[in-house]
């Protein structure tokens, strides 16, 4: 444990992963704004900008909308708002957020600036973490389940089953991953569900190969041989003796798989094949703001940094865990 703390990789990796996990889990509570709430008047404002807005809804069961205020006055039960186009708007106070003047009118600060629809980039990044993590975990989980089952089957049985499964993984390895993903998602209706299924279904061969290798190696260990001699079934040996002992490399591969899946989701969303607007996926955010690179560089820089941090975090974490668990690496 002490040794682990000396490794800067694990510290950086862990802190990035923790940061993103916290953002993802607590997104609705820590994000200063709703991720899709637009204030068109605040389009392309730089980081740190703050402005005065009114939050209201047209009727009790409808979502809140936000507009920037130029002038404001109160008249009986209504407020009269002059917007930036000098149009006057009458809003009933009961329709303001919280039902009171004090809660409906506020000044908001955009710490990371705004995008082309005047949405708070920080809030979108925070909510984006949720999407990246969900996709990363679920895609990796699918790869894990398929990979472990097929790898274990191949390893424990050997012979023809092994050959068939391994040739299948070879075929899968033969396809360029991203191209294969683009093909799958383009053929379906684009959505996040398609993305994580596709990523999971494309990335399992690595896991299968690893597990097969582990099983083949452990199969000849004495304790496995003795279990066999005692008459345990193949399934029991696999589940009770072999798999628990190959957990370490599986965890490492799983962690690295998350980084790959996050990257894949971002790439597909960037190409318009993943998250659909207005979903605040990091890749989609870069896509929609890339045309404004010179007017509002922060709008693409922020999600770019977030992707880099997430991928780097999981990669560093995976690497460090491997180093810690692998006795041969320690001497080097």
């Amino acid at each position: 444990m002490i040794k682990a703390m000396k490794d800067p990789g694990i510290i950086i990796g862990l802190s990035f992963v923790l940061l993103i996990t916290i953002m993802g889990i607590f997104a609705p509570w820590i994000a200063p704004q709703a991720p899709n709430s637009q204030t068109l008047e605040f389009r392309h404002k730089p980081p740190g900008f703050s402005g005065k807005v009114v939050n209201y809804r047209l009727a009790p069961n409808l979502p809140y909308i936000t507009i920037a205020i130029k002038k404001i006055s109160i008249e009986n039960d209504n407020i009269i708002v002059t917007d930036k186009l000098d149009r006057q708007l009458q809003i009933a106070i009961k329709n303001l957020e919280g039902g009171r003047f004090e809660t409906g009118i506020k000044s908001i600060t955009f710490w990371l600036g705004t995008d082309q629809f005047g949405r708070d980039i920080l809030s979108r990044i925070i909510h984006g973490a949720r999407i990246s993590l969900t996709i990363g975990f679920s895609a990796s989980l699918i790869a894990l389940v398929i990979g472990v089952i097929l790898g274990a089957l191949a390893g424990i049985n050997g012979g023809r089953i092994d050959t068939i499964i391994m040739r299948l993984t070879d075929i899968m390895f033969g396809f360029p991953t991203l191209l294969f993903l683009i093909g799958i998602t383009a053929a379906m209706e684009p959505s996040l569900n398609v993305v994580f299924m596709a990523v999971g279904l494309v990335t399992w061969p690595g896991m299968a190969r690893l597990v097969r290798g582990q099983v083949m190696q452990l199969k000849h260990m004495e304790y496995v041989q003795s279990a066999k001699a005692l008459g345990f079934s193949k399934t029991t040996i696999l589940l009770k003796h072999i798999l628990p002992n190959s957990l370490a490399p599986i965890i490492v591969t799983f962690t690295l798989g998350i980084a790959g899946a996050i990257m894949a989701e971002a790439s597909l969303s960037f190409l318009g094949l993943g998250a659909q607007p207005p979903t605040p996926s990091w890749g989609a955010m870069i896509n929609s703001s890339k045309d404004y690179l010179r007017i509002a560089p922060w709008a693409s820089l922020a999600p770019g940094t977030a992707i880099a941090m997430a991928v780097l975090g999981f990669n560093l974490l995976g690497d460090s865990v491997r180093d810690l668990l692998d006795p041969t690496m320690k001497k080097g």
Binding site: Q38, P63, E189, G272, P277, P297
Partner: protein, 510 residues
């Protein structure tokens, strides 16, 4: 810090781009490549533009959208509006030196109609007498096309149809050299002001001027069209001086607003809209369709997201073709939208899907519309797909909502009515709108020659359609062109195939 970053990005983009200016070549960008040089398949704007550089038509549009003589010196229309007589110039030569004759015109037109050509543009000529029989392969020639003598040609129609003369200015009715019709996709056979030098697919298209052009040779020696798909690349290249004329993308207007370039703004003949499927629930309900229209704040979107480069609609027809005062029927009125929604029976709102083609410029505004609709309780999910998939879905009437735009084929209000709202077209290709009154008024417009009665009918049709709300009418876009200071004589035109760059000059100093 941010400024430093901007400078860094810019200098990276510009590094290596600066070079000596070539005063013999006019360079302009296209964002995607053309389909080829065959007029029969020129259905998209860019291909159509290139066809107009390489070929002549009987008539053409000038920069101000007037119909002017092309290969035909004069023309006249018979009193019943059915027979057109053209006097052909006898001094036009194709690029290979052959003389342009009346036969070339007949062969070119019959080629479009010939079933073996399988051109999607037969609609331009199928109103000629005998064209339908020819199209089906029953006859060897089109009866309505008659050679009177070496320089006279008549075209007879089944019924009077006033837009016909404008059809003859379209890319598909370009005149092809009858001796060189073999490889038109790659090798053009025209007589236009520019000759093709080279077409490097997805790279560039190079032209040399036709020095003997009958209407005056272009002033610049070469024309180069570069295919640059990324907005950022185009604008960096323009800034480096490698492009001479540049169409500013809507999103970049903020950036170029205060820059020192010659700027020209043009109202395009275009309408952007959201089509609603009018023949099945939920959008067969007119109250719901009106609610969709009242719910969006066009004024704010145009002002802020489009940097003011669009005008509000009064209906489908651009203001240029409407006489009298043009008023907007659908102002921003979310309260009214909510009431209409209730009246339509959607007290608790509704969920629906909007189809859009990937890569559309519309992504710069789509989410603002989505947010406006959500504010009144209409939750619209955006479905993005590839252009071909999207186009097929629209044609088959699959989407409830879809975003599209319509560019004028020719400068006439009729072009914003018949192809979009006549039940024959709409029920088979578009948003399944069918209304006998609208059909009747459009057919009447098509029979009348251009006069005051026709003009007022166009206004009436426009208002009638706006009132029935088959679309969410969005706006008519404007385009801003920037030119380098060494470019002279450039004027933009609202009609796509009027621009032939013959008067543009390129030199140092004013």
């Amino acid at each position: 810090m941010l400024n430093a970053l901007r400078v860094l990005i810019l200098s990276l983009l510009l590094a290596g781009c600066t070079k000596d200016i070539d005063y013999q070549t006019l360079t302009i960008p296209y964002s995607t490549d053309i389909r080829g040089f065959d007029p029969a398949f020129a259905t998209d704007l860019r291909t159509g533009k290139v066809i107009s550089l390489l070929y002549d038509n009987l008539v053409r549009f000038d920069l101000d959208m007037n119909l002017v003589p092309g290969a035909a010196k004069h023309w006249s229309v018979s009193a019943d509006g059915r027979k057109y007589t053209f006097i052909i110039r006898n001094n036009i030569r194709f690029h290979n030196g052959d003389l342009l004759t009346v036969d070339d015109i007949i062969v070119s037109f019959e080629r479009i109609l010939n079933p073996q050509t399988s051109s999607p543009q037969t609609w331009l000529l199928d109103r000629i007498t005998g064209a339908k029989e020819y199209l089906q392969g029953y006859t060897d020639s089109v009866r309505g096309l008659t050679v009177i003598n070496d320089s006279t040609l008549t075209i007879e129609l089944d019924e009077p149809f006033s837009p016909f003369i404008q059809y003859l200015a379209m890319p598909a009715t370009a005149i092809i050299n009858k001796n060189e019709m073999e490889h038109l996709t790659n090798i053009p056979a025209g007589s236009g002001p520019w000759k093709l030098d080279k077409w490097e697919r997805d790279g560039e298209i190079l032209f040399t001027r036709n020095i003997d052009y009958w209407d005056g040779s272009p002033k610049i020696e070469h024309l180069r069209i570069r295919i640059l798909s990324e907005i950022m690349t185009q604008s960096a290249e323009f800034e480096a001086g490698s492009l001479d004329i540049y169409e500013v993308p809507k999103g970049e207007l903020e950036y170029w607003r205060d820059k020192d370039y010659n700027k020209k703004e043009e109202n395009e003949l275009i309408i952007r809209y959201v089509g609603m499927n009018c023949s099945r629930p939920p959008f067969d309900n007119i109250y719901l369709r009106k609610a969709m229209n009242y719910a969006i704040d066009r004024e704010k979107i145009i002002h802020i997201l489009l940097n003011g480069s669009a005008t509000i609609t009064s209906g489908p027809v651009p203001p240029r073709f409407l006489t009298g005062e043009v008023r907007t029927q659908y102002e921003y009125n979310p309260g009214k939208a909510i009431n209409l929604l209730k009246k339509a029976g959607y007290k608790n709102g509704l969920n629906t899907e909007l189809y859009v083609a990937g890569g559309s410029e519309m992504f710069h505004v789509l989410e603002a519309l989505q947010s406006d609709w959500a504010a009144v309780g209409i939750n619209v999910e955006i479905k993005r797909s590839d252009w071909n998939v999207f186009k097929t879905a629209v044609r088959e009437g699959k989407p409830d909502l879809y975003y599209l735009d319509w560019y004028a084929d020719y400068p006439d209000g009729e072009n914003f009515l018949y192809p979009l709202f006549h039940s024959k077209e709409s029920m088979t290709k578009r948003n399944r709108f069918s209304d006998p009154d609208v059909d009747a008024i459009i057919e009447k417009i098509q029979r009348l020659p251009d006069n005051a009665e026709r003009q007022s009918l166009i206004v009436e049709a426009n208002n009638m359609i706006a009132d029935k709300a088959p679309w969410v009418f969005l706006w008519h876009s404007k385009t801003t062109y920037l030119t380098q200071k060494w470019i002279g004589g450039f004027r933009p035109s609202p009609i796509f195939n009027a621009q032939r760059y013959t008067l543009v000059t390129k030199q140092i100093g004013p």
